[in-house]
Symmetry: C2
Subunit: 212 residues, 2 copies
C-alpha cells in the first residue's frame, strides 16, 4: 500500500511535538488538549489536529490526548523503536562534541563505532565508543548491519567519504560537513545540518525586524 503524502512542514513539526510531549510526561501530565499543545509550540489547535490527521489522528475531539500514548505513537512514526545502528566518521571537534554530549540513544540510534584517519586517535575510545581506522569502515558497515553514518569530517573530501559510505551499504547520512552531498545513483537519505543557512536566516530576521 502506498503511504499517503505527508508534507515537509508536518515532518518538520513532528520532532517538536515529540520534545514537548516528552517534557509534559516528565512534568507528570497525563492528558493534553490541542489548545495546550498549541500554546507551548506557538501553533493553533486546528493546525495541530490537521497535522495529526495526516497519521490517522490520535485522539477524540473534546477529550484531549493521552500524553504517553501520543508520545509513543509519534516516537514510532519517527522510527525511534527500530534500533538503528550508527557509526560516526571524523572525530574532529564537531565529532568529539557529538560523542561527548549528544544523546543518540534518546533519538533511537545506537552508536557502534567512530572512524578517523589520525593514528593518535585510532585504538582509543571516546565516551565508550571505539575509534577505528577509516580503512576498516566499509567492512564494518557490512559486518555490523549499520544503517546510518554521522559525517563530521572536514569539508574537503566529504563527498569521497560519502561515496565510500554509500558503497558500504549505508542507508542514511547525517551530514555536518556544510557540503551539499550527492547520493549519486543511490536512494541514500541525506539530512544536513547547515550552519551557514541557519546564521543567514538569523541575519534576515535581524535585518527585517521579524522574530524567527
Amino acid at each position: 500500500m502506498k503511504k499517503p503524502y505527508i508534507s515537509k512542514n508536518v515532518i518538520q513539526r513532528m520532532p517538536r511535538y515529540l520534545r514537548t510531549l516528552t517534557e509534559l510526561q516528565k512534568e507528570g501530565t497525563n492528558r493534553v488538549s490541542s489548545g495546550e499543545l498549541g500554546a507551548r509550540l506557538g501553533l493553533t489547535p486546528s493546525q495541530i489536529r490537521q497535522d495529526f490527521s495526516c497519521f490517522g489522528g490520535f485522539g477524540q475531539q473534546g477529550y484531549g490526548y493521552n500524553v504517553k500514548t501520543l508520545r509513543d505513537e509519534i516516537a514510532a512514526i519517527l522510527g525511534m523503536d527500530r534500533g538503528y545502528q550508527m557509526i560516526l566518521v571524523g572525530t574532529g571537534k564537531i565529532g568529539q562534541s557529538l560523542l561527548e554530549n549528544f544523546d543518540f540513544e534518546s533519538c533511537g540510534f545506537k552508536l557502534r563505532a567512530a572512524f578517523d584517519i589520525r593514528h593518535d586517535l585510532i585504538g582509543e575510545d571516546i565516551c565508550g565508543v571505539p575509534v577505528l581506522d577509516c580503512s576498516e569502515m566499509e567492512d564494518f558497515i557490512r559486518n555490523n548491519g549499520i544503517h546510518v553514518a554521522v559525517l563530521s569530517t572536514t569539508r574537503g573530501g566529504a563527498q569521497r567519504v560519502a561515496d565510500a559510505l554509500i558503497a558500504g551499504g549505508i542507508r542514511a547520512i547525517w551530514n555536518f560537513t556544510e557540503c551539499e552531498l550527492s547520493p549519486g545513483e543511490s536512494d541514500v537519505i541525506i539530512e544536513s545540518i547547515h550552519f551557514s543557512e541557519s546564521l543567514l536566516r538569523l541575519g534576515y530576521h535581524l535585518s527585517n525586524g521579524a522574530s524567527a
Copy 2:
C-alpha cells in the same frame, strides 16, 4: 511602510539561493535561468520566480538573471552587508569548532570576542578571537555595540546566560544549546540549531522510505 509578509518557506530557501549563486559566480557563470537554478536546487522554475517576486522580482522573464546582481541583492536581503558585530559564549567543543572552522565573515558577521568561565581559557585567544571572562560580557556588549551572540554553553544554565545577553542589549541569539530558549518580554530573535530534531527527521525518512 509595513513590509509585505514573506513566508517561512521562502526565507528558508534564500540562503540556499545565495549558496548556489555563489557557486555559479565561482564557476564564472554570468547569467542563469530560473530553470537552471531550479535544476540545481530541486525546485521548479515557477517556484523560483514566485519566491523572487516576494522581493519585487529580480529579472525579466526570458532573459534569465545576472548571477552577480542577483547574488548581491539576495545578500542584501539577508543583511550580509550590515556589518553585524558578534560574540560567542561557551568555548567547549562546539564553540571551539565554530571558532576554528566556521566562516562568520562570509555570512556577514564580525566575531569580536568569545566568553567563558574556565580560567585556563580566559586570556587566551582561539584563531585570533580573544577569550574573555563571562563577568565582562554585559559591559562588552554595551561598549562594543554587539548585535548577536552565539550561545554554545552546556545545556544547564543556557537560559540564564541568554537572560544576561538579553539584559546586555543583544538583538539576536544563535542557539546551539538544544534548549528551547525564551526571549522573555524582549523581541530578541532566537535561531536554533536543533541537532536532535534533525536526527529525528532522518529517522522518520529512514522508517518511511522517502528521501529527505
